[in-house]
């Protein structure tokens, strides 16, 4: 293949070469070229080469010529040999061909003889063959005629044998013939007999159709046969559907019976009934419709939802499927097979029929699903729902222009919603139980000893952790359980509409967010209750804070992640929940501060009201109430410290700075005693006013921060302001004033560690002393030394 190509190529190249650069070819100096010019070459060689080179060249040329000569001779000899051999062969062939000619002539003669005898034989047989053909034709016709004569009897036999299909088949095959030859009198009789037989067949089939026990398969068969017999399709499809409806409704009745049984499950009475009647229908259903009969346990009372849906599938849905497909096969054939006119009507009938039944069916399943107890795992339920949904969806596909998938999805959503609500109420109940536990634990008597306090601290922390953890865990559990609905293996979980409704509206908003809001509300309602335990308030405020800072965020993102919610628009944002939590925490904490402050205030107010400030003697010790106040404060401190971080203390006083403060206070005390010697009102108010000039207004019931120091500062402020106001309502003697002075000093010594800003403490305490001195008939302060001494003693 390549050879001619390459040859052609070479030729073409040569031509091109000649065309473009013939001159280069025409080098007359190339010995091998055809343009070689001897003279020029010789001249050129002589001109260019030295003698020695010439001699060498000559020698070379001579040897080359000799080589070429010998080659030429060899070639000539070879050719000659071959020519001789060829001549020999030609001569031999000439001799052989002479004998062959005679043999061929003989063969021709023989062939001609054979042909002549064959023609003779054919002609001889021709006549007999035609005769045989005629005989065969007559035989066939006779056979057909015999069949026709026996047809009515045969049909009757078939009716007797219940072998309807054969009867119909034979009639359908012959009907056309009869129809064609019915003008012949003999055929007319046969035709009439046949008609009568077919009418009997028809009625027999109709009887069978009317039988209730007839299975769907038999039914289908009968109707099919009737159709073949040319019965009008319209009436038949009505009959068919009516019959099918009886069967299907029977199935449905069974199912709804089971479903209601599940509704009222645990009712032992229901138990014995079921095995009696259920298995029959069950088995009959299997016999009649499903060839692949499987063994089903007839424990229907304890049937779980999965088995229920399976049973539904095997009985009702299977039957329905069969009905629809056979109906379609029979009545909705392709238009050219007839019945195209009523196909639309038939279709509509079927659609209405199926629609009604599916509606009932969905209602029955709905009853069953509603009866499903709320367990922690929804796996079985969702699988069952998925099966249910998938099967209805399949029916939809079988029957165009219907949308049972939607209906099924509605039921699934309903079930989901019910589960979500159940989850929410379970969560609420859990929260209430947790809170009640904590309350009881807190209400249990606490020991005032040091160990007891520590234990209480630990307890508080434990309670807090347990409360938060339990809340978080329960939410997670619920979300995980509900996630069963969204598993991608379920077909309904893939539907966008379902995902949107379920994930976003039901689970996220309906369960998680709603629960958080409920939590906030619950906690706030606790804050506003009258008989509240302050420790509980503190604990809950901390819980709110924890939820605010981390837990809510974590849980919500966990939920979003699990449910694959990406589009957050229209959903309750995280910030609003956490803000609510924070507000609740703040309210609780404020409430705590107010409650504790009120307790201490009450104590201080009573003590000031009850004491006889005019008649009291010289102070010898700090009043007992101050100690009680300090004890209470330290208890509160422990409680708060257990739950909250310390926070910042402005000017955290070291010991030395406190000492310097004392010196200041001494000098101020001196100043006061100075004016007490010359009791001028001007000085008095000057001191008070100067005091105010330098200090900022102190908000007593200000909101507190989430730190230990801030909380305690709040309580201390409330208490001291109460002391101030109470003292202003009394009239004091000198000793009364001094008692106040001692008390205040005592408080100053111990309270500094609790407050954020010592300045505030000092201002408040100073104001108490100032007010006391104003309310004193004989204001004379005790020497600071003595005050310190008394305080140290006690």
């Amino acid at each position: 293949m390549a050879d001619p190509d390459s040859k052609k190529e070479r030729k073409r190249r040569k031509e091109l070469l000649q065309f473009y650069g013939g001159s280069t070819e025409e080098t007359p100096y190339d010995i091998n070229s055809k343009h070689f010019n001897l003279d020029m070459y010789v001249q050129k060689t002589i001109k260019e080469c030295s003698l020695k080179q010439l001699l060498e060249h000559e020698a070379g040329l001579v040897s080359e010529i000799q080589g070429l000569d010998s080659d030429c001779q060899t070639l000539v000899y070879d050719h000659y040999d071959k020519f001789i051999a060829a001549a020999d062969i030609v001569r031999k062939m000439k001799d052989g061909s002479v004998s062959m000619e005679g043999q061929i002539t003989r063969l021709q003669q023989n062939m001609a003889g054979i042909t002549a005898s064959s023609t003779t034989i054919t002609e001889a047989l021709q006549e007999r063959r035609g005769h045989l053909g005629r005989l065969l034709g007559v035989h066939g016709t006779l056979k057909k005629l015999e069949f026709l004569f026996h047809l009515p009897q045969k049909i009757d036999e078939c009716i007797a044998d219940k072998n309807f299909s054969e009867g119909v088949m034979s009639y359908v095959e012959t009907a056309e013939v009869l129809h064609r030859y019915r003008h012949l009198p003999s055929f007319t009789a046969i035709h009439q007999d046949c008609q009568a037989a077919v009418a009997r067949l028809n009625s027999a089939l109709k009887d069978q159709l009317a039988l209730k026990e007839g299975s769907a398969r038999q039914l289908t068969e009968s109707v099919d046969l009737l159709l073949q017999l040319g019965e009008p399709a319209e009436g038949l499809c009505d009959d068919f559907l009516a019959h099918a409806r009886i069967k299907l409704e029977e199935n449905l009745a069974n199912l709804s019976h089971i479903a209601e049984g599940a509704m009222g499950s645990k009712q032992d009475e229901a138990l014995p009934e079921h095995p009696e009647d259920q298995p029959d229908t069950n088995i009959s259903a299997h016999d009649t419709l499903a060839d692949d009969t499987t063994d089903i346990q007839p424990e229907l009372a304890s049937m779980d939802i999965l088995e229920f849906v399976d049973l539904c599938h095997e009985t009702f849905v299977g039957n329905l499927w069969l009905v629809i497909s056979s109906y379609k096969e029979m009545f909705l054939r392709s238009p050219e097979e007839g019945g195209s006119v009523c196909a639309g009507v038939a279709m509509e009938k079927l659609r209405v029929f199926v629609g009604e039944l599916v509606e009932q069916y969905v209602a029955v399943v709905g009853v069953r699903v509603a009866g499903e107890p709320d367990s922690a795992h929804y796996g079985a339920l969702t699988t069952a729902l998925d099966k249910f949904h998938r099967r209805l969806h399949a029916i939809t596909q079988l029957l165009p222009n219907t949308n049972f998938g939607e209906v099924a999805l509605g039921l699934v959503l309903e079930a989901g919603e019910a589960r979500c609500q159940a989850s929410l109420s379970a969560l609420k109940a859990g929260l209430a139980a947790n809170l009640a536990d904590v309350r009881h634990a807190l209400a249990a008597p606490r020991h005032p000893t040091q160990d007891g306090a520590e234990a209480a601290t630990r307890h508080l922390n434990e309670h807090l952790t347990r409360l938060v953890a339990a809340t978080a865990a329960s939410i997670k559990d619920r979300v995980t359980a509900l996630q069963a609905f969204t598993q991608p293996k379920h077909t309904f979980a893939v539907v966008a509409e379902f995902r949107r409704r379920f994930c976003r509206e039901l689970v996220r908003e309906g369960v998680v967010v709603a629960f958080f809001l409920h939590l906030t509300d619950t906690v706030l309602s606790l804050a506003h209750k009258k008989d509240k335990d302050p420790v509980l308030l503190l604990l809950l405020s901390r819980m709110c804070l924890d939820l605010h800072t981390s837990t809510v965020h974590y849980l919500l993102s966990h939920c979003d992640e699990q449910l694959q919610i990406e589009d957050k628009t229209g959903l309750t944002p995280l910030s609003s929940i956490t803000a609510g939590m924070r507000d609740a925490g703040q309210t609780l904490l404020n409430q705590y501060v107010h409650t504790q402050g009120a307790v201490i205030s009450q104590m201080l107010r009573r003590s000031v009201e009850v004491k006889d400030w005019l008649g009291c003697g010289e102070p010898r010790s700090v009043r007992r109430v101050m100690r009680t106040v300090l004890d209470d404060l330290s208890t509160i401190d422990t409680q708060v410290g257990a739950l909250y971080e310390d926070g910042n203390q402005r000017d955290r006083s070291s010991d030395s700075s406190r000492r310097t403060y004392h010196s200041v206070s001494v000098s101020r005390g001196g100043a006061r005693s100075a004016w007490s010697y010359t009791p001028s009102q001007l000085d008095n108010s000057l001191v008070a006013n100067l005091n105010k000039l330098w200090s900022e207004r102190i908000e007593i019931f200000a909101p507190v921060e989430f730190t230990r120091v801030s909380i305690l500062t709040g309580i201390v402020k409330i208490s001291l302001k109460t002391l101030l106001e109470s003292v202003r309502l009394r009239t004091l003697s000198r000793f009364g004033l001094q008692q106040v002075q001692v008390d205040v000093h005592f408080l100053r010594t111990f309270l500094w560690s609790y407050v954020a800003d010592e300045q505030v403490l000092n201002v408040l305490l100073d104001e108490v002393v100032t007010s006391a001195s104003v309310r004193c008939c004989d204001p004379e302060l005790m020497e600071q030394r003595v005050v310190e001494f008394i305080c140290e003693q006690s």
Binding site: H594, L682, N684, K692, F701, R730, C777
Partner: protein, 408 residues
């Protein structure tokens, strides 16, 4: 532009007692009683000139002691009742009676005084600093009175520990009817003509629980003034003075002490209370289960609450957080803004809509000490005075915008 507050100092006196000069309907007058243990106490009649925004005062000595409460008679402009603390009156005496303090100090007494107002012709300015005039004592309201008053009741009060201030309440209509509150007992006095003599015509006691005693009282302004209500611990109790029987009661009105109460002058059953839980509550006395409304504006005890006599949606409160707050509460007022404007032009209605809202109208920060008393003027609906412990009295007016809205 609102008028700047007029601040007036009581010259180094502490003071708690403030009242409007009820019987004086021409001038904006307030009465203040001072509280000093070491100086002669005064009753100051403070007159505020609305046109010039000037304050003038008349000073009267109140030698009986420091004034804890003051109240002026509803009809006679010159009658006042004070609750005074019968303490030594001059610094000299302190030393001498020192050991006997128990006999004198801490004894609260009540009396009816006459203000010597006859000399109104003489220049007030001249008088300013001298304070020469004294209030004239008409009769004592002490039940164990020592000065010849007809007191049939011999209940001892001064057991040394009488913790609660007396309260004296004048009937809103008549000069002759007074009520005093002592510890756990309420005395109903009949004041003779011109206050020359007073006698107890009825008394009623509440069973004491612990140290709780009756605090501040108030006459019920409706139904011919037949009831008196008083704070009692954290509750409010009322008695019918005709039968001297308990009438109604708001149990646990506040979580802590109730400090003051006031009746809505225009709505028959509405009551305002304030207390130590920083709250002001409004009640319907027919249904005392829950308040109609709760305010929580103050950050410390609320010491006093007052309805405006004509426009009862305006409510004043004062507190020891050093603030006075004027609130607008149309939702519980006799004439809510909405209905009031309904028959007015729609244009004004629009104007009112924005600012006629419920809530705080203004917070007054002019005081630098606890404010114990706040009162509306008896003569001008728009003026009110507040008094703080450091003796600073502030006279304020309702902001003009609010005022005009009421008129329109």
């Amino acid at each position: 532009m609102d008028d700047a507050p007029v601040i007036y100092g009581l010259e180094d006196f502490q003071a708690r007692a403030l009242t409007a000069h009820t019987a004086e309907t021409e001038k904006i007058n307030f009465l203040v009683g001072t509280q000093s243990l070491r100086r002669v106490n005064q009753v100051q009649l403070i007159e505020f000139d609305d046109d010039t925004s000037l304050v003038s005062k008349q000073t009267f000595e109140h030698p009986a002691g420091e004034v804890w409460r003051i109240i002026s008679a509803p009809q006679s402009p010159d009658l006042i009742a004070t609750v005074y603390n019968n303490t030594p009156q001059s610094p000299d005496l302190i030393a001498t009676v020192y050991n006997n303090t128990q006999d004198y100090c801490g004894e609260f007494g009540g009396a009816v005084w006459r203000l010597p107002l006859e000399g109104t012709t003489q220049s007030l300015l001249e008088d300013n600093r001298t304070g020469g005039e004294q209030v004239e004592k008409l009769c004592s309201l002490s039940v164990n009175g020592d000065d010849g008053c007809e007191s049939n009741v011999g209940v001892g009060v001064g057991s040394g520990v009488c913790s609660q201030v007396w309260s004296v309440v004048w009937s809103p209509e008549e000069d002759s009817r007074l009520v005093t509150l002592v510890n756990n007992t309420l005395y109903y006095w009949d004041l003779q003509v011109a206050g020359k003599c007073a006698k107890v015509v009825g008394e009623v006691s509440v069973e004491s629980r612990g140290s709780v005693s009756i605090g501040v009282g108030r006459w019920y302004p409706h139904q011919l003034g037949t009831q008196v209500a008083a704070t009692h611990g954290s509750s409010v109790r009322a008695w019918d003075v005709r039968t001297m029987k308990p009438a109604w009661c708001v149990e646990a009105a506040h979580t802590q002490l109730v400090r003051d109460l006031d009746f809505n002058p225009n709505m028959q059953y509405n009551l305002a209370t304030c207390g130590d839980d920083c709250k002001t509550k409004f009640w319907d006395i027919r249904n005392t289960e829950r308040p109609l409304k709760e305010l929580c504006n103050h950050s410390h005890w609320v010491w006093s609450v007052r309805y405006n006599a004509s426009y009862d949606q305006l409510v004043l409160t004062c507190s020891s957080d050093q603030r006075v707050i004027l609130s607008n509460l149309p939702s519980i007022a006799s004439q809510p803004f909405g209905t009031m404007v309904d028959h007015e032009d729609t244009k004004e209605h629009k104007d009112n809509g924005s600012s006629g809202e419920e809530g705080v109208i203004q917070t007054y920060d002019d005081h630098e000490d606890s404010v114990y008393g706040v009162e509306w003027s008896a003569a001008d609906f728009w003026t009110f005075a507040s008094l703080s412990y450091d003796g600073r009295m502030v006279i304020n007016k309702v902001p003009r915008s609010v005022k005009y809205k009421q008129f329109l």
